[in-house]
Amino acid sequence: MQEYKHSVSLDVKKCKGCTTCLKRCPTEAIRIRDGHAVINSKRCIDCGECIKVCPHKAKRATHDGLETLSDFKVKVALPAPALYGQFDNMESIDYIIEGLYRLGFDYVFEVAGAAEMVSAYTRIYLGKPGVRKPVISSACPVITRMININFPYLSDNIMPILPPIEVAAAVARDRMTEMRPDVSPEDIGIYFISPCTAKVSYVKNGFAGSKNNVDRVLSMRDLYFRLIDVMDGIEVPEHAASSGMIGIGWASTGGESSAVFNDKYLAADGIENCIKVLEQIENDDFTDLDFIELNACNGGCVGGAMTVANPYIAQARLQTLKRYLPVSPNRPREVDVPDRFFVDENVKFDPGMLLSDDRNEAMRMMSEIESIASELPGLDCGSCGAPTCMAFAEDIVKNETNADECTVIMREMFHDYLERHKDTTLADAFRDYRSRSAKEKDGSQEPHA
């Protein structure tokens, strides 16, 4: 299997090896080893939680820099609708569109416009006979990857239609090719302006297969100050935004669902809430649903790790901005979903959690894990470098760490030692410990407790 490419990176110098990200990672993908965080790429779903919570700013999103704007002769910007909620005191979205042109983009195609198309296609798709319900939105790449790793039974429920980012890229490329017959196709660069890390990974891993049309992914945060600078100088925008209420609504949770025009939907956000919803859906716990919208970030895309504004403030701004806009000006006229907007093949189960390919070996390991875990304190303190005692037991059995990393057991052993050597002072005990561990290093190994 091809190695999964991620978009979260670590600045080892800044990482203190604290347990903040360790405890917040929803897939237990992080361990602290040699004093700093390490991400297991098989388990990482690029949700960006660790970037958001890191108190030392050691976790960073990797994305394309603004210098890549010189990579292509003709540049197309695809702003995600969350971008519109980032600016204070902005009267109209037209200023952002105009600002993007002034930054050097030759054409701007709003992802919100493509989202209106996807909303229309979703309504068509939901009405098709034999569709497996509830249909789960394909828009959030964290959720689709989460389903691939942990909810294989639900992978057929993911809507097989391309997400707005990809529909936008395809339409923008077509239009550009038409508008600029003088430019060869490989000179056209499609730049997605992203609110989150997961979209970066989505593009890097070519999730859309042959239909992947995005060339570069820029961070909303990088573009923010550049845009403010140019927007300040705009008197009257020459270019206008063309998306409507439905498209802009996709930036926050509930927007995509309400555009389905069907009451039988559920919309949830925050990765932990989404996981709980998926658990219950998998158990057939509530069956009367047609559509499920899940967004890994709090508040929806406005809560992405590469945004600037507080997600709820951004959402409030969007409410004002979209108030007098038409409902869905980009709604397509087709009566069926065009073939080119269907995904080539459904996402495949990726058994990132598997202990061993050999069932017998996996069972042996599991028994050992259970037995070790029953001896551990169960505090889930994280000092050993694993998020929970159970995860620590797994790591021991997988030979990724060893049992003496448990500081609670170590403390008990220390007290026990002091009890047996009542006449010894603390200083003596340390001296004794040091000389013994030096001996161990020399090779005269004692068995570990």
């Binding site: 942990n150 039974y153 658990e279 598997l354 069932r359 069972m363 259970e370």
Partner: protein
């Protein structure tokens, strides 16, 4: 032939909000063992229903899951009131849950029928005033 793997859970009778927790943990464990998704789902549903039943009717109990080469066995044991009429309890929609439980969306009378539906074998051993033990198996390939 691998040795059986055994998981044991105490199901807390006081707490509705944590009911179903053992089922979630078992799902994760079975994934780690590489059990096929369809089997995992059936085990998870049967366990979930069983856990909810123990919380509603028996003030909790315990759940044991035994994974062997060819099957997954689930044993749910409680010391609750017992089931007076098993064949009645097995009917879809028959429920003795109180209204406050139903208002939470539970007690629809689908617990035992679903447990039977999603497993290959199910045995109910119940005695009034003493408790109930339900043993279910899901055959795995």
């Amino acid at each position: 032939m691998a040795e059986n793997v055994v998981f044991h859970f105490d199901v807390d009778g006081e707490d509705f909000s944590s009911a179903g927790g053992a089922s979630v943990t078992v799902k994760k464990k079975l994934r780690q063992l590489g059990i096929a998704p369809e089997y995992i789902r059936r085990v998870a549903i049967a366990m979930y229903e069983g856990e909810i039943n123990m919380v509603i009717h028996a003030n909790g109990g315990s759940a044991d899951v035994i994974v062997s080469d060819d099957e997954i066995k689930i044993v749910l044991t409680d010391t609750g009131p017992g089931i007076p009429d098993v064949s009645l309890a097995m009917q879809e929609g028959y429920s003795t849950a109180r209204d406050n439980i139903r208002s939470l969306g539970f007690g629809a009378g689908m617990g035992l029928p679903n447990m039977k539906k999603y497993t290959d074998t199910m045995e109910i051993d119940t005695e009034l005033g003493r408790g109930t033990t339900i043993t279910m198996t899901v055959k795995i390939a």
